[in-house]
Symmetry: C2
């Protein structure tokens, strides 16, 4: 199968974290854990020569590894992918920005439902990722820990008995783990409490980021909360601490939504109604307006304002309305103006087809 | 029947100029002619004493006059009307602002479909009005001329063989006639041609006004074009000249819409789509946003974008979304904030009921 055909397949498959239900998924969109691992005795990718990088890629393709690795895995050699297809993978949260640049030996292994993925030769030899819908870090940990264990039996990972796993960047040494939950917090944003919450989270040594990159904190009211440190605690302790903070944020968000519904009901209904009206009927729409409107719509769905739209549709539109996905949908390169028209068409058609169900 | 019950009846009746079709009604909402007439030998209302004013009101209630005057006429003594009900009549274009103030002898005679109306003791003893949908000034003239003729046989109007009809304000002396057409010109506004058109119309000695009063020219893209002078020409000549200018404006508007549709289709579709989306789904909406959104929607209906909505619905919403009508709909006085909520509710319900048909 060509890489292009494999991308098409991914686009058609059911994506677990977008389509399945999960705990607290009215507020927590997804839970993700990634582990940084490196092969013992080989330089980190930044210092490795092309041959060594290809050896790393070769290692995960050994039959014995493949058999135990990711079920029904799809393998992408990044160099064989067109630029647009790489951007598709980026927008689907399967690769990082670093993988947009040509690099020998760079590869991706992914399960058809995108719940498991391994980036090969990114910053580390392996970046193993598990991703599930809703708030279920412990379950995600169980899944990725199992995968890590079987991989660790086939591949010898760089490990120091004092430090733990050795990684290219010192900030990952130890567990090599970054655990994060993507939260949808329109209630805290609308009620003006979000900055206090973010400051509180920072004080606890956790990180909060907008999901579309630096400086996009308020875009779509989507926030990613993750651990910062990877040393001095076990994985379970890190996840326990992170989970407890996230549970509190979820409670705050619920309270904020209830308070808005009680004291500013018309304001809330108006925000949601207008967002839906625009998404359903606009012919030109920017990504910024789309994300913010989808955010309001998602909250409206949670409030029971819509019988036909569900949060999975909204989740999916967040992904599909991005730049590369739009060009894939249109089947050609699009200027910025054309994207705004195509984006509106895609969203209108999606919501209309649901309306008619 | 109480005055309040009579108002309720008016609100339930079919209003011809809003609900019936007329020539060019995609652009021309309505055609109106009013005649100023005064009883010979009695001072103009401004100089008349209460007894004289009551005599004028009495004159139109003579059986012989009633028989020939307005079919199935409804009579309102303004002093018996509540303030809110007077405002309802103002918003329905049946009385002027002057009639909001208490004045003895002030009255209104109106046909159930609101196509004919006579204000008694406004600036002149009689202000006779005929109003029809679309662009049909000549037909309106035929109707009002017939009414004027029968009234003139029963009541002796002040008339000077040199000057013509005598009126309270010198600007009305002569024909006493003001003919106007309400035009919906979103194409000329969106394409930036409206100012040139208005200047051209002014140069021809005609007046252009926003329909919601001074300084509201662009609200809802509704413009009223009327004659200024009442001397030196016959009624037919005035109407002929006015009609020819209006026919030209209608052509310009059609061209502007075609050009927008050809060169800026997505922009146009977006304007209309968003307007509909907001009207259909907002929970708080100001009168300004309403008028502008209704304007875009009306253009969209003309462009065939909506199978369920028709221009008569839009015409009606222009009237129903005004201040007094909203309070009537709510059955109570409303603050400005409450009006914005009630307005949104009314429009949402109206458009939803149409959607479901």
């Amino acid at each position: 199968m060509t890489e292009s055909a494999m991308i098409e397949m991914l686009l058609k498959n059911r994506v677990s974290w977008l389509s399945d239900s999960g705990p607290e998924d009215d507020i927590a969109i997804s839970s993700r854990i990634r582990l940084a691992r490196n092969l013992d005795g080989l330089p980190f990718p930044i210092a490795a020569n092309p041959e060594q990088l290809l050896n790393v890629w070769g290692a995960v393709q050994l039959t014995s590894v493949q058999a135990k690795c990711v079920p029904d895995q799809i393998l992408f050699e990044m160099q064989k992918l067109k630029e647009l297809d790489r951007k598709i993978l980026l927008e689907r949260r399967l690769i990082s920005r670093e993988f947009l640049i040509d690099k020998p030996g760079a590869g991706l292994i992914v399960s058809p439902d995108e719940s498991l993925a391994i980036m090969v030769n990114e910053e580390d030899h392996f970046r193993i990722q598990a991703l599930r819908p809703g708030f279920q870090l412990k379950e995600v940990w169980t899944a990725i820990d199992a995968l890590d264990t079987v991989l660790g039996k086939e591949l010898k990972f760089g490990f120091d008995s004092q430090l733990g796993y050795l990684t290219s960047c010192p900030t990952n040494v130890g567990t090599g783990m970054r655990a994060s939950v993507m939260l949808h917090l329109p209630g805290l944003v609308l009620s003006g409490q979000i900055n206090a919450v973010i400051q509180g989270v920072h004080k606890l040594g956790l990180a909060v980021r907008g999901i579309f990159g630096e400086g996009t904190e308020n875009l779509g009211n989507l926030f990613q909360v993750s651990n910062q440190s990877t040393l001095g605690e076990t994985e379970e302790q890190i996840i326990e601490r992170l989970s407890s903070v996230i549970q509190q944020i979820i409670s705050h968000e619920k309270n904020a939504r209830h308070a808005l519904l009680e004291h500013r009901q018309n304001f809330l209904l108006d925000q949601v109604g207008r967002a839906y009206g625009i998404l359903r009927h606009a012919y030109i729409i920017t990504s910024e307006e789309t994300f913010n409107s989808l955010s309001a719509l998602r909250m409206g769905v949670d409030m029971g304002m819509f019988s036909s739209v569900d949060i999975h549709t909204v989740n999916e539109l967040f992904i599909l309305s991005q730049k590369a996905h739009l060009q894939k949908y249109a089947g050609k390169e699009l200027s910025s103006e054309e994207r705004d028209v195509t984006r509106a068409t895609l969203i209108r058609e999606k919501l209309r087809s649901i309306d008619k169900r």
